[in-house]
């Protein structure tokens, strides 16, 4: 665990963390603007903005493309990226392990199973409940699936306040396989219309983004993101183990429950809106720890910013690399994130020494 740049001799990395955070804000803004400008239709937001400032009427086509296609996609990408990256950082803090990631240890699979369950068997739920939940039903299913799998994973891999890396990774594999089998059964049961909805989960894509879909999932993600800053101190103390965290005055059980809920909310909602997008949760916090240290007070907000910018960038690549066709964004993040994950494994072989 060697830092890229040695820490300042004072040992205080807060000033550097603040600089990095400012740079990330700029990066996110730039990514957002660039994402609005890039697209198959060749509509330039600058030209539209110029027209608008000149007092000219904006064409319906431009308005639809910018406000109803590119903007919801941009906001979805930013929220999903932030949620996945922050969920990864929180999970790594909770499991005291830089390899924990919702995608790798089966939480995303659990969330997918929850969503698929709702899509295929939602018709069996009481009509009143379905009407009440409305379009939130799929995000809720994904959240419950993610929650159950995070709880289960923590129970299995933690004993006497210590989390075993090997057990966690292996339990994650088993849970992902179980969720996959469950989804297989559901796909077998599904009718044609449901099958079309289901294919979406296997891809991981922002292509279906719309304000309606976003409205269903965004509140859950935002709730999870808002809860996270309150966990920074507890996660810092938890880095020294549960017993020491308690000695330092942390209500450990409550902090753990809150962290698990937040991870499930962010992962579940992100999966509900965009399917399985992998590796954001492991790459982003890892890069940030190298750049500014592991203090969660700075790491968590920075992870949100970098995760959002990264996913917006990946989406631009997905949209343009095979234009006018579109590559699922999950493929882009896996292509970039897979080798990165292997690189972390190689550098930290001692850590996962089975």
């Amino acid at each position: 665990m060697v830092a890229l740049t040695p820490p300042a001799s004072s040992g205080d990395r807060a000033p550097r963390a603040q600089k990095v955070t400012l740079a990330l804000v700029a990066l996110l803004l730039a990514a957002g603007v660039a994402s609005l400008a890039v697209g198959a239709a060749g509509v330039s937001p600058w030209a539209v903005l110029g027209d608008w400032l000149a007092g000219e009427a904006i064409g319906l086509r431009e308005r639809v493309i910018l406000l109803d296609i590119r903007l919801p996609r941009l906001v979805t990408g930013a929220l999903v990226g932030a949620s996945l990256a922050v969920a990864g950082a929180v999970m790594q803090g909770l499991f005291r392990n830089p390899l924990a990631d919702p995608g790798i240890v089966g939480v995303s699979a659990g969330a997918s199973l929850g969503a698929v369950l709702v899509i295929v068997l939602g018709g069996l739920l009481p009509a009143g409940l379905v009407a009440l939940a409305g379009s939130h039903l799929v995000p809720i299913g994904a959240f419950l699936g993610g929650w159950a799998s995070t709880l289960l994973l923590y129970r299995i891999s933690t004993r006497a306040g210590r989390t075993s890396v090997a057990t966690m990774l292996l339990a994650g594999i088993a849970m992902a396989a179980l969720a996959g089998a469950g989804m297989g059964v559901l796909i077998f049961l599904a009718d044609d219309a449901q099958l079309r909805d289901l294919t979406f989960w296997n891809m991981g894509s922002l292509a279906g983004s719309s304000w309606t879909r976003l409205a269903a999932a965004a509140p859950v993600m935002i709730l999870g993101l808002l809860a996270v800053p309150f966990m920074a101190r507890a996660l810092n103390a938890l880095s020294l183990g549960e017993a020491t965290a308690m000695h330092l005055g942390i209500r450990v059980e409550r902090a753990k429950r809150l962290a698990i809920l937040a991870v499930a909310a962010m992962t579940g909602a992100a999966v509900a809106v965009s399917g399985g997008i992998g590796f954001v949760g492991i790459v982003v916090p890892h890069l940030l720890r190298l750049a500014m240290g592991p203090d969660h007070r700075f790491l968590l907000p920075a992870a949100g910013l970098l995760g959002a910018a990264l996913l917006i960038g990946a989406d631009m690549v997905a949209r343009t690399i095979a234009a006018p066709a579109e590559l699922p964004i999950g493929i882009v993040t896996a292509l970039a994130g897979g080798p990165f994950f292997l690189w972390i494994l190689l550098r930290k072989r001692g850590l996962v020494d089975l």
């Binding site: 803090g93 005055g249 942390i250 720890r289 240290g293």
Partner: protein, 258 residues
């Protein structure tokens, strides 16, 4: 004052502590000694609230179990035997985690003072994971000291719980750490330490609890507890206790064991 009556701990079905009565006064240093597996560390964990226990347990007259973690953290600090660390923190970042009840004005200067106190002045910027085992142990001691920096606050004593604080240290640092514990007690705070080294214990302890099989088999000053018969019964081997001519502190030579 820390006091307990019929304190018992059961892990699984196995009784680890079997109805212990004890009392430790603020301003004194108590050492828990005993053979491996006699329940020393479990007793310390019960006293810090880390493991569930039955029986009465009070810290300065208050039921210890009724105190919330954040309130307890202002009254006592705990140095465990080993602390796992998941992420690459610097020494300063670790020590700062002990800043739980320190007002903001002191928060800037105290971490450096605490590090200086344990002989690690200037180590602030080092990465914790690159230090030796003994240095890591002392970084945690600095963090723990910072948490209860004033041994007495508003007339209420604070407590230090140390689990084998000198296990990983060379003799110079062993003496330094025991000096720190001694000073904390003399300034009015309470210290409870699990110890393996009987000679260091004899040098610094006001009170010794000798544990065997989940009970306190003997208690008192080192001179009262460290007798040939008591130690031989507890440790299961014939041990000779000697005293140097100067001050009457007992010492135990492994070479003198029969």
């Amino acid at each position: 004052m820390l006091d307990a009556e019929t304190l018992s701990v059961t892990l699984g079905r196995k009784p680890i502590l079997k109805g212990i009565d004890l009392e430790a006064k603020a301003g004194t240093l108590t050492c828990i000694v005993g053979p491996n597996g006699s329940g020393k560390t479990t007793l310390l964990r019960a006293l810090t609230g880390e493991v569930a226990s039955s029986g009465r347990l009070r810290l300065d007259g208050q039921d210890l179990r009724s105190l919330k973690p954040e309130a307890l953290a202002l009254r006592r600090a705990v140095l465990p035997q080993s602390v796992p660390l998941a992420f690459p923190f610097t020494v300063l970042e670790i020590v700062r985690l002990g800043l739980t009840g320190v007002p903001g004005a002191d928060a800037r200067s105290l971490p450096a003072q605490a590090l200086h106190r344990v002989g690690l002045g200037g180590y602030e910027g080092r990465l914790f994971q690159e230090l030796s085992g003994g240095e890591q142990q002392r970084v945690h001691l600095a963090r723990v000291l910072l948490q209860v920096w004033q041994p007495v606050v508003h007339g209420i004593p604070r407590w230090l719980f140390l689990d084998e604080p000198v296990a990983a240290l060379d003799i110079g640092h062993q003496l330094q750490v025991m000096r720190i514990a001694r000073d904390f007690a003399e300034a009015g705070g309470g210290v409870i330490a699990v110890m393996h080294d009987l000679n260091l214990t004899a040098m610094v302890a006001d009170q010794v609890w000798l544990m065997t099989a989940g009970r306190i088999a003997a208690r008192g000053t080192p001179a009262e507890v460290f007798t040939d018969a008591t130690l031989a019964a507890a440790y299961g081997c014939a041990i000779r206790v000697s005293t140097p001519p100067s001050d009457g502190t007992p010492f135990i030579l492994p070479q003198a064991a029969a």
